[in-house]
């Protein structure tokens, strides 16, 4: 992956920069030793790596602002980092940048049940937000598979989704307000604990801006009352295409399950060992369809879903019988990416297609995989058409990464050509940056970069991401 050449001038100023940051944040808030910086050289996309110049770990919005001001004054780019779980290289550093991690800012600031919101520092993990309110019967809806570890800051940056977003929407539909630090080091609030901000929806611009418009340090999030009950049903099919067709028919039937998740054979086998969920091992593809509500609502929805499914002659059709079984079913799904690691190294894609196109794109993906001679596993949010093909390769074998990258690009082009897009929830990051021109015309990209110019005129936040380097060249460092 091509990255801009680091600025010699910035590299030479490292000692001064570190001293000033340490003065503002305290010595334990700044990491600068070479051995230690290594651990921050990548996120969950390990194919691309580059140790940063330094790492700062502020403890408050004010400290974030201080750090931003120091970096701005010295012309040093900043790469914001939540929990470092990005699969798109969203927090990949450059050699002349400072990583600004919000992991130490992980406090709940306010919980308001009557008005259904929680205000948190964005270093909190996604799951711990639900953890803070579940005792009172509430939850936070977006649930990326990495929800145990991923931070709210990264969820906002990438507009993350998750299995249950089919019904509840993605981060942007559950985000009410943010506090952010601008490129000039100002602390700004956008939105708040009310339904919709008056005037332009700036919040909508910030959510999903991949850490390029500001550093979000606090978030006001919508919390919802937990449903009375929920029940997943497992459906096994003899081919991925049949499973894909079943998904399209379920959606067409008018029922809205909370989640329709898809796993293919490769993935089922890898995850079953970890989760012991009782997944059927002889099927080619598995759907996890979850519905929720009162007992009778669950029964009614499930009967429609089962009727649709039966038309596709499932090999297995099994409802969860206990809370423990439901938990195991979801543990398997949520740990699928990690468990795939047992098969080798992988790149996880995030292309999204119209649900009706699922069978065709699944078939096309399999054909491409065969052409390249690489294994591709599929595990994804089928109800949204949000695919996650996982390309398995051997990182220690010379040339395999490049081959996997080329296959990934072809699969994503296939998604775009099917009327879909490059990313459903992981963001563009660095991984899909150079494919943006396949999705957008030059003029479309220019419009987006105009927005970036307004918030961050010197292009200091999260450099070399989202926009192809050639397209942004005239603006970067301008």
């Amino acid at each position: 992956m091509e990255m801009p050449l680091p600025s010699r001038m910035i590299l030479d100023q490292k000692a001064t920069l570190v001293a000033r940051l340490a003065e503002a944040l305290g010595a334990d808030g700044v990491i600068h030793a070479e051995t230690e910086l290594r651990a921050y050289e990548c996120d969950a996309l390990t194919a691309y790596r580059c140790p940063p110049l330094a790492v700062v770990l502020p403890r408050s919005t004010e400290e974030v602002a201080e750090a931003v001001k120091i970096c701005a004054a010295m012309g040093v780019p900043i790469v914001p980092r939540g929990a470092g779980t990005s699969l798109a290289g969203g927090s990949l550093p450059t050699a002349d940048s400072v990583i600004l991690g919000v992991a130490r800012m992980n406090q709940v600031l306010e919980i308001d049940y009557p008005n259904r919101f929680i205000r948190v520092e964005t270093g909190m993990t996604n799951l711990s937000v639900t953890g803070a309110v579940e005792g009172a019967g509430f939850f936070y809806a977006p649930d990326p598979s990495s929800q145990l570890a991923c931070a709210i800051s990264g969820n906002i940056a990438m507009n993350s989704g998750g299995a249950h977003c089919l019904k509840y929407g993605v981060t942007t539909n559950n985000l009410m307000g943010v506090k952010l630090v601008t490129a000039a080091g100002e602390i700004v609030e956008v939105g708040g604990a009310h339904l919709d901000p008056v005037g332009y929806d700036l919040l909508g611009v910030i959510c999903g801006s991949e850490g390029q418009l500001g550093i979000v340090t606090e978030a006001t999030l919508r919390i919802l009352a937990s449903p009375e009950g929920a029940r997943p049903v497992l459906m096994g099919f003899d081919s991925s295409e049949t499973a894909g067709a079943c998904v399209a028919d379920i959606i067409k039937s008018g029922v809205i399950p909370v989640a329709i998740e898809f796993m293919d054979k490769l993935c089922i086998h890898a995850t079953e060992d970890h989760a012991h969920a009782g997944y059927p091992l002889d099927v080619e593809a598995l759907l996890i369809v979850e519905v929720e509500g009162s007992g009778s609502e669950i029964e009614e929805q499930l009967s429609t879903i089962k009727e649709v499914a039966n038309r596709h002659e499932p090999m297995v059709l099994r409802e969860s019988k206990s809370e423990a079984e439901s938990a195991a079913i979801w543990l398997g799904r949520k740990s699928a990416f990690g468990a795939m690691g047992q098969l080798g190294d992988y790149i996880c894609l995030d292309g999204t297609v119209p649900v009706s196109e699922l069978p065709r794109v699944l078939k096309g993906t399999a054909d491409l995989a065969e052409k390249y001679g690489l294994q591709v596993a599929n595990v994804f949010h089928a109800g949204d058409g949000n695919m996650h093909p996982l390309i398995i390769f051997n990182a220690n074998a010379p040339g395999e990464l490049e081959k996997a990258e080329a296959l990934g690009a072809d699969i994503l082009r296939l998604c775009v050509d099917a009327g879909g897009c490059l990313s459903g929830e992981h963001g563009v990051g660095v991984e899909k940056r150079d494919l943006m021109e396949h999705q957008y015309a030059a003029e479309d990209l220019a419009q987006q970069m105009d927005v970036k110019d307004v918030f961050d005129p010197d292009w200091m936040f999260n450099p070399a991401k989202v926009f192809p380097l050639a397209a942004s060249e005239g603006r970067r460092g301008a």
Binding site: G123, L148, G341
Partner: protein
């Protein structure tokens, strides 16, 4: 994750194993979420993912450990919560053990750190010396404000009552009462013997009452975990080998159905003896045999069946020791037994998080340990129990110094519920509440 070892490096079985472990890691970051030191410090270098990276870099470049790397690896509690969380099956324990041995070989610690570690290895594994040290520490405790640093912090951990030496767990056999069903060896431990002799007494009564002949094998002693976690593998392997000889002797003699451990920290290590000696043909087979025979007392009691029990309706908070829940993956058995015995069992929030005891961790890393202790005790107290039960002496001591709620070993409660005496640690409990049940 990609690794960069040369063919020559991979000839070394230790490096080959490290490579295998590192290759399994996909760097997903799930482990950070349940790592106690990361929860306290918020720096990825103090999380498993960060440490894995530090270790990878150190081993790949075959360089001696440096101060920074040592600092972050020293902050690891070895609670192994990361291994429960990891979906990729990364064997962090074997990797960090390897790194600790590498540190011990290639890094010279500051004199005071070396001295402290030397003192700990000379005292803790030997009950007699430890008892003497406790008595000395008790005498010194009025002056603890004058004693700086970690030595001063150690005095806070001295229990208010120092038990006299007991004879009930000396080498020998205690015969089953009633029908004889099994013959088992009990590992009597080292520090536990000095700190709380009631635990072995209760365990022996519980086992004999359930039809077990209980052997305390001549020559068995400390499991070696203490020195192993300091990277002092010569010492830890010597302790382990002595135990293996003692137990294999018993197994080949009158026979053994199991080796019972009631200090889960030791259990994790004994269950790993097979791995520890895998490349030593002289002892590999015996070591694997010992590991296969080893069971936590709660695992074994589930197999035996608790039988008739009548416990007073006490509200018991079960504290899951990390070595039991993460190290040995024994999480259901103790709770199941306590419920069967008739206790009301409650679990604290964040049950997966370490209490900060972690072997010698509370002595070597007092600040992080204190924060974890505070968090653990708050969670336990929020569950409003009358008693706290745990399966590991380290946790019991750690939690006991910070709460007024009595802390007992699970085996003591099970012994009581099946006909044993009222645990002495519960003497202060309101007898009227119990009588009313």
């Amino acid at each position: 994750m990609q690794t960069n070892f040369t063919e020559a490096q991979l000839q070394n079985p230790g490096i080959a194993r490290a490579n295998e472990i590192l290759r399994a890691c996909v760097h997903c970051g799930f482990c950070t979420a349940t790592c106690p030191s990361y929860q306290v410090l918020g720096d990825e270098l103090d999380s498993p993912r960060g440490r894995i990276y530090l270790i990878k870099d150190m081993l790949e470049n075959n360089r001696p450990a440096d101060e920074k790397t040592v600092t972050h690896i020293d902050r690891c509690l070895s609670c192994l919560a990361c291994m429960t969380t990891c979906p990729s099956g990364v064997h962090y324990m074997h990797l960090v053990d390897h790194a600790r041995a590498h540190i011990e070989k290639t890094y010279r610690r500051p004199w005071h750190d070396r001295a402290l570690r030397w003192v700990l290895t000379l005292i803790l594994p030997y009950p007699g010396r430890f008892r003497l040290a406790l008595a000395g520490a008790k005498l010194a405790s009025p002056f603890k404000r004058l004693i700086p640093g970690k030595m001063g912090a150690m005095l806070d951990l001295v229990p208010p009552r120092i038990a006299p030496p007991m004879r009930h767990d000396d080498p020998g056999v205690t015969l089953a009462t009633g029908e004889r069903r099994k013959r088992v060896a009990l590992m009597t431990g080292c520090a536990q013997k000095a700190l709380n002799p009631d635990i072995n007494a209760a365990t022996i009564r519980l086992l004999t009452r359930h039809g077990c002949d209980v052997v305390v094998a001549e020559g068995a002693g400390c499991c070696g975990a203490l020195t192993h976690h300091m990277g002092k593998t010569d010492l830890s392997h010597a302790s382990a080998a002595a135990n293996i000889r003692a137990w294999v002797g018993e197994a080949d003699g009158a026979g053994l159905d199991a080796i019972i451990i009631n200090t889960s920290g030791c259990g994790t290590t004994v269950k790993d003896y097979g791995y520890m000696f895998r490349h030593d043909p002289k002892i590999a087979e015996d070591a694997a045999r010992v590991s296969a025979l080893t069971k936590d007392i709660s695992e074994f009691m589930v197999e035996l069946g608790l039988g008739q029990a009548s416990a007073p309706k006490l509200r018991v908070a079960y504290h899951a020791a990390c070595s039991l829940q993460h190290g040995q993956k024994v999480s259901g058995a103790p709770k199941e037994l306590l419920r069967q015995a008739g206790f009301e069992v409650v679990e604290p929030a964040e049950a997966h998080l370490c209490c900060g005891s972690a072997g010698t961790y509370n002595l070597l890393q007092p600040q992080i340990s204190a924060k974890l202790k505070e968090r653990k005790v708050a969670n336990l107290e929020a569950a409003a129990p009358q008693v706290i039960a745990a399966g590991n002496i380290g946790c019991m001591m750690q939690i006991g110094t910070a709460t007024g709620i009595p802390v007992v070993h699970t085996a003591e409660l099970l012994d009581w519920a099946t006909g044993g005496p009222w645990p002495e640690a519960l003497a202060g409990l309101d007898t009227e509440i119990i009588a009313a049940e």
